[in-house]
Structure formats: C-alpha cells, structure tokens
C-alpha cells in the first residue's frame, strides 16, 4: 500500500529522519510511537504527500509519489483517510456537510450517499449532532467527526496522527475500537501515538505491530511493551 525506501527528511536545521524503510501491507495495523518531536507527524505527512522526502523514495499504491502531479496527488488523498491531532473543519458548515466534504469535492452525489452518511455518523456516535457547527463540538466529538470524514470515501488506508491526543481515556478507548473495527473491515491502519497505555490496550482488540522512532531511525519495537 505505502512503501518507504531509505527515506530521509531534513528540516533546515538538521536531519529528522534517515534511512527509514517501511512497508504497510494491506490489512495491517501499525502503531507509530516515539518521544515528542521524534518525527511521528513528519513520517505521517510523508505517507500522504504533505511533505516530500529529502532523500529516498515513497511508493503509494504502486506509484512513485515524486512522479505525481498536483491533481494526481489530490486523487491519491481520496484513497487515504487522514485524521489529525488538531482536526480542522469548515467552521461555517454543519457537521454532516463536513463529514460529507470528501464526497462533495470529488464530485460524488452527496444525496445518493445520505444513507451511508447517517450510518457512518451513527457508527461514530454523532447521529444526533449532524446539524451542529464544528466549533460547537467537544474535543472527542471532533476527533470522531474527523474519523468519519476520513473513512467516508472508503479509503484503503487510514492514517491517524495522535487521534486520542485531546480526549480522555474513555474516549480514546472508543476511538481505538473504531479504528480496530475499520481494520477488521480490511483497511490498512497506521496510528501515531505516544500513549503506550493505549497501545497496550489495543493488544486485546487487534493484531498490531509497533514501530518506534528513535535516533532518527525507525525500528520495529519488541512485542512486549
């Protein structure tokens, strides 16, 4: 699905990631962990093309990301669902429209998909909040709305960057359950999180591999955390 070959990334100052090789196979569930500032978000951004690697190669769905033009990149984003830690919405549109936004911008008929939309909103537990504006939502509701928006196009890959960063333990468990359910439906999932308790809790839900960034390198962490 997503393959990184000897990828390096440097900011103006210095090297943040070097020689990262990673392959997300279809249906896999990965956690990405590491201390703050170790480059988790950067690695996520490299995976969906928000950043370009300074060295190495990234292949997404079999095509080299460097060869994609802007429009192809936009099409690519429709196949990758992204949940940010601080999820942004269009604040002037109600929740239902925000969740349906990927359908809108890709020219799909939102009316025809309204059944899917309401099922999806019920699945994330926001069935009764469809008319709320994003600023009116709580942190947990925003995260779940972002997750719903990320999966409405039925993407093959879901990337979640600290999806539980702003919510309490109970809510992170709920989000984790949703991500595990997605994985059981066959989606490839990559979750960046520094929360080891959450990663341990996931063990009972899903077969997850844990990747750790330390000293600019990506390592497969041991089974026992």
């Amino acid at each position: 699905m997503i393959e990184l070959e000897n990828v390096g990334y440097s900011y103006g100052g210095g090297e943040l990631l070097s020689n990262v090789t990673l392959s997300l196979s279809p249906g896999s569930f990965h956690f990405l962990t590491g201390p703050s500032g170790s480059g988790k978000t950067t690695l996520m951004k490299l995976c969906y093309g928000a950043l370009k690697p300074t060295s190495g190669r990234i292949k997404v769905f079999g095509s080299d990301m460097r060869r994609l033009d802007r429009d192809q990149m936009a099409i690519l984003r429709r196949r990758i669902g992204v949940v940010h830690q601080d999820c942004q919405f269009l604040d002037h549109l109600p929740l239902a429209d925000n969740v349906a936004l990927p359908l809108t911008v890709s020219g799909r008929d939102v009316g025809a998909e309204s059944q899917n939309l309401s099922e999806l909103l019920a699945w994330v537990g926001l069935g009764n909040r469809t008319d709320a504006l994003p600023p009116e939502l709580s942190g947990g509701e925003r995260q779940r709305a972002a997750l719903a928006r990320a999966v409405i196009m039925s993407p093959e890959v879901v990337l979640a960057d600290e999806p539980t960063g702003n919510v309490d333990w109970e809510m992170s468990q709920r989000l984790l359950t949703l991500l595990a359910e997605l994985n059981r439906m066959g989606k490839t999932v990559l979750v960046a999180s520094h929360d080891l308790a959450l990663i341990r809790a996931a063990k009972s839900l899903v077969q997850a591999r844990v990747l750790r960034i330390s000293n600019r390198k990506l390592q497969l962490a041991g089974a026992d955390l």
Partner: protein
C-alpha cells in the same frame, strides 16, 4: 481549462460555492469597486467615441475641400477666374470646382459687415470652392501651376487650421483610450487584492479542502466564480448608471459644439455593454491567477 471545467464554471456548483464561507462586507466592496470603474469607463468610452467622431469629421470635411482666392483688378478678374477653373478642371483628383456667385459671397460676409454691404463697390476677391475626390490631389503641384498661369490666385487647403484641430481631437481620443486601459488595469489590481485577501482569510478552508482530496481547479473555482460574478454584477450596475448619465446629457447642437456631442450615437450605444463582459473577464483572470499562485504554495 477544459471544456468541462468551463461548463461547470458557468452552470455553477451550489456545493462548491458553499465550501467557501460567505463574506458580506468585502463582497460589497468588490461590487462597489467594479460598479465605480464601469461607471467611469462609460464616460471614458463616450469621450473616446465623441472625439473620434469629431476628428474624423473635421479631417474628412477639411481634407476634401479647399478654397481658391483670386485677387485681381476688376477687368482681369473674370478672365483669371475662367483660367483658374480650366486648370482645376484639368487637375486630376479634383471632383468639382465652382466659382461662388456674388450673392453667396455676400452671404459669407454678412456676419461681419451686415446685410447692406455694397459688394459691387468693394474689391472683394473671387472665391472658388474646390472639392477633392477620394484620391485627393497634389496641392503643391497645383499651387505651382496656378502661380505661373493665374498670378492673382491663392490656394488655401485649410491645412493650416485643420491640423491643430484634428490633432487635438485625436489627442482627446488617445487620452480616452488610455483612461479605459487604466480603468481596466486598476480593476484587475483591485480584484487581485480582494481575491488575495479572501484567499488568505480562507487559508484553513483551502487546507481542509486540499486534505480531503479537492483538486486545485475545484478550490480555485469556488473563489473565481464568486469574484467573476461580483465584478459582472457590479460592472453592469455601474454601466447602467453611466449610460443613464450619458443619456441625460443635453442633445448635441451646433451652438454647443464639441461638449454637447459627448455621448453615443447609433450602434455606439451597444459598445458600453462590453464593459461588464470585459470587467468579468478581467476579474476571472485576476482571481484565477492569484488562486493558482496561492495553491501552488501548498503541498
């Protein structure tokens, strides 16, 4: 832009319009600026067309007519007039030449000397009216020949006072054209500024749209459509008001001369309708350019 893009642009996409939040105040400013510019453009256009008409008329009328003045002792006058007419008849490029009658000459002098002028007692020169055909004639050649054969004849092709008048009218026309170009440029600048402000204010919207897989064309269109429509509506209003103003000017009269001739004539009334169309095109290009440039900065 593909044909499909243009089509969807014209038909509009209610959903695409909704993704950009409405902006009441700046929208009205854009509308006002477009209206004001269109209003000014109508007057610049009226000035252009009036001075153009004037220049053409003066140049045409004056270039085609000339006057031959024959000052000779009374006994030679008729003979010299006949000789001059014969020369003029032979000159290629002259459509007609006619000696003015005493009554006509008296009528020309009446404004200066009154109706009771005893013309017969005064040494008034004989005037010959020359009308050239479309090719024109060789003024210098004719002058040389006349000075040889009709010593009392003086040819006046009116060029001495024709040129400054035509020059003045042409300068006015150039000024009008330049004003129209400046108005177009200022409109483009204002729309670009407004579009840039809108794009900056909606940076988050653009980022979200890009994240969920919107193509640049889709994002740009939401802005471009808005500004193009605003410019079109504003310019239409401004043009309508400007045309009303021109229509209310007093009608052209001989007494008023140039000033009252300011306005449109006949098919000229259709030309201002191009202003909203051009205004919309300018807005379209300006917004498209700024949106694409802005989006190019994002990944």
């Amino acid at each position: 832009m593909s044909k499909r893009t243009i089509r969807s642009f014209l038909l509009g996409d209610a959903q695409a319009d909704r993704v950009v939040p409405p902006s009441g105040f700046t929208a009205q400013l854009t509308l006002f600026a477009a209206a004001a510019m269109a209003f000014l453009a109508v007057f610049a256009l009226a000035l252009c067309m009036a001075s153009g008409r004037l220049a053409d008329r003066w140049a045409g009328e004056l270039a085609r007519s000339a006057t031959l003045r024959i000052s000779a002792p009374a006994d030679q006058r008729d003979a010299q007039t006949a000789a001059a007419l014969e020369i003029l008849r032979q000159t290629p490029g002259i459509a007609s030449a006619r000696a003015l009658s005493m009554e006509e000459q008296a009528a020309l002098l009446t404004p200066w000397f009154g109706a009771d002028l005893p013309l017969d007692d005064l040494p008034v020169p004989q005037l010959v009216e020359i009308v050239a055909d479309d090719q024109g004639y060789d003024v210098e050649g004719l002058r040389l020949r006349l000075s040889g054969e009709v010593p009392g004849a003086v040819l006046d092709d009116h060029s001495r006072w024709r040129r400054p008048l035509v020059d003045a009218a042409n300068s006015l026309r150039r000024l009008g054209l330049m004003s129209i170009l400046l108005i177009g440029g200022a409109t483009a600048a204002m729309i670009t500024l407004a579009a840039n402000a809108a794009l900056a204010a909606n940076a988050q919207v653009i980022e979200v749209l890009r994240l969920v897989g919107a193509r640049d064309t889709y994002i740009a269109q939401a802005f471009v459509r808005r500004f193009t429509l605003r410019a079109l509506i504003g310019a239409t209003l401004g043009m309508a008001l400007g045309m009303l103003g021109v229509a209310l000017l007093p009608p052209a009269s001989d007494a008023g001369g140039f000033l009252t001739g300011l306005g449109f004539q006949g098919a000229g009334w259709a030309v201002p309708f191009l202003i909203p169309v051009l205004g919309a095109l300018v807005a379209f290009a300006a917004t498209w350019y700024s949106a694409r440039r802005r989006l190019g900065e994002l990944t």
